[in-house]
Amino acid sequence: MSRTPNLEQENFRPRHADLGTSSWLKILLGCIAWSILACLTPNSLSAQPSMARPSDQAQPKMVKVYGAGGLSGLEAYQSGFLVSPAGHIATAWSYVLDVDPVVILHDGRRFESKIVGFEPALELAVLKIEADDLSFFPIPETNSISWGDPVLAVSNLFGIATGNEPASVMQGRVAAKTKLDARRGTFQTPYRGEVLLLDLVANNPGAAGGALINPEGEFLGMLGKELRDRKTGVWLNYAIPADVLRQPIGDIIAGRKTTLPDESNPVLPREKSHSPTSLGIGLIPDVLENTPAYIDFIEKESAADRVDLRPDDLIVLVNGRRVSHQRAFRDLLRRIDRRDQVALVVQRDNEILDLVLRP
């Protein structure tokens, strides 16, 4: 097969490229420089490119995530990408992470991972594996991508890339930049910010948490979970842009946001700590190993009642820490002094609410 690996940046410079200055001098210099370059540039540079180079570059930065699921059509796998050389992995927050997931690197190495933190509003989670010197995607501050630009979506879709097999790469273009207006089942999704809609079928099982890159191999965004358009019901192929992800990922890695139970924060005696009952919260019956922390009823004139907590609210965070099930919720409350306030993040239908309960 003939292939031309040269993939010069100017080949893919978007048409909307900003001249960037009104300075005549710069224009003049630019013109002269370009003319010289144009004379010197051999024709081969503009020969047909292969997407093999960016595809290959992306592979060491991609991971396969295996966790909960595997029943009733719920796949137990998804995608992720490295965001630090020390083994921080960004991925989509989903049921797959209900257990500590197993992460497999591009070379087939297998790691147990810990969930470092997550951002419910973006449905983003950051995992950590004990490894170093890893290739990773720097997350850019600004987002210069526009509709029509060519992109590659790299993911572990359908779980077909196991072990050291390369992650799947699909090509397409950004079809639109728009606000997300989507639903999962009957619920509207919490994130309603800007997304990149894609003309490739990124909406497949396991693709969530994959990376969207440009033909230079630079990170553009994270492939989102399977969603449908809220009004039409059409499946959406989209990615959350890099600039939206940058700060939350940075905050989680820096420890400004965490959901891990802090072991230095000891369990207090029952009479000195909070409990669901002391806050006036009645939870649904705890019949499963991982019964979610759904509220069944609220005691009148309790702390919970005063902030208008309601039945069917799902408790997501307590003092910034993740509540994966009722046991975790009780455990976290046992670590908070009865005299201190409790900050909750709850999901009510399609809304995420921050509430502070004062004793």
Binding site: M1, M51, F158, G163
Partner: protein, 639 residues
Amino acid sequence: MPSRCLGSALVRIGCLTFALLASVAWLTTQVDAEESSLLPDEQRWIEEFESARIAGIAKAMPSTVMVFVPGGGGGGSGVLISEDGYALTNFHVSSPAGTYMRCGLSDGKVYDAVVVGIDPVGDLALIQLLGREDFSTAEFVPSRSVQVGDWCFAIGNPFLLATNLQPTVTAGIISGVRRYQYPSGTLLEYGNCFQTDASINPGNSGGPLYDNDGDLIGIIGRASFEKRGRVNVGVGYAISGDQAQNFLGCLHSGRVVDHATLGATVGTDEDGSVRVTNILSSSDAYRRGLRYGDEILEIDGQVIQTANDVQNILATFPSSWRIPITYRQEGTSVETLVRLASVHRGSELLEKMKSALPPPPPAPPKPPASPESDDASPESPEDSNAKSSPDEPEQSQPDNSKKAMKDAAGEPVPEIAVNQIEVREGYANYYYNQLQQTKFIERLRRQFEEATTDDSVWKINGTAIPVADNQQPSEFQLTIGEGQFEFKIGNDVERLSRGDELLRVVDEQRDAGILACLSALQRMLAIGPKQFGDTYYWGTMPLSGKRPLRDTVIGIHSDLETRFLHHPESERLEVIESIAGTDTDPAELWFGTDNGGIPSTMQLRYGTTTVLNLQIDDWSVEQAGQPQAPDAPINGDAS
């Protein structure tokens, strides 16, 4: 003065204004030039890229086949790979059609086609389009070099839309390589296949996947579907061209081809190494020293990194291939050759295949038969004869039974196709096996022209060259003929006369195994494949793990299975293998020749050990019953 000053000032202002305007105009031009300067470059790239793709598509289009099962019972795609009309498609595309189908090309013409051979496990079928000898063909390129990210395109017949015989082109990139797709149902297994985001839909099956230059890299066969019914979601799979080429020789045999297994299972250890977790003691791998816990390092020259790799590579080989394997045992690396066993035993494959076949498509209702057209009516006596044909003698009712063949729609199959169909149990189309058998015996008799007579006794004399340190060179004499087989080496003489004795010496791996190989050769030359025993063209396989692939014919006589391996170019018989059973090494007789005729050297091997190395001085032929007749030397230097 003021007026002059004014005039001068006006001139200056005028000049400045002009200069300014000129500068602005020049700069504007330059700005435009720079703005548009991106476009010509980008445009040139797009033009070149698209031109290359258009040229690739134009090159590829004529070789794409649109397969239609008669009676509207389905169809798919295919690709022509030889000028005389051989085309590859999927087994699951050809199977509803039975042996006969109709195929359209982009030239707008429809051709009759017959099934040649099938690989139900790997989902491949070889068909032949009839009526021309100058079909446009696609060229295979080594698909091992294909990378993730390479541009590719598929041409085919999605949703069977190409009823106007204009196929659909969809483009994309290679999304993944080395993909393993688990068996769907009981049979189909895709090993080491390509994944592409080029749009693949039902009906693309069997069609070609081309690289951007229009060269063939794979045969499309499968896709992942999700939530949208059976409609493309950007994940299609293609059987690699390398795998297809491995099976091509076997498919030409008209057989139902099986896949290979190592006879051992493997798992990935905690340290990442791939280790044997179970092994059959009857497997060739066990005989070559592979044991539980050994680490597999390479198979067929490809490095093994995961247990998945083992399955991926093995899935691309037909059964019985002998391939190089490297493993590590107690710190020592061992390189050896292993004969791969069949995945299925006996008629198991045929039974599974029958259960995997879709129900036959509903035939359209028949118009009432007119009194004039009663020559091919379903009630005609020929029809019932055709159904009971497989076990009947070959020459009985040859034409009448064939005329009654019906296609999937219940219509008579055209004569051009009937002439190339031979139904036989265990074969996709025995006609093609017979073709190859005829070629084989012609080739063999050409090489051994001087040794081919009906009643002859061979006398082969020469020197046995030592193969071990404690041996001395000695004279040998071989006598083969009239049901007597004698091997004299030094003072040792071995005389055999019965088939079971030949079987025993091979089973016990003795030097006299050479008699089994030579007697089979003599028998084949004398009476040909039709009378030799159960004889069939097997296909192609590597010789001792090396290419080119050798044409292989198998004959079974007196429970002894004999394989004849011919070089595809020199057409010279290189090796005869006599197999006494699956749990022992066969006797391999290797021939060396100086001029392509009668061999000048012979080596007998068991497994990877050479037990005899013979230099032939004289290979003479006597007529049977004339033991005292003067020798008729036939090799050049003895005359």
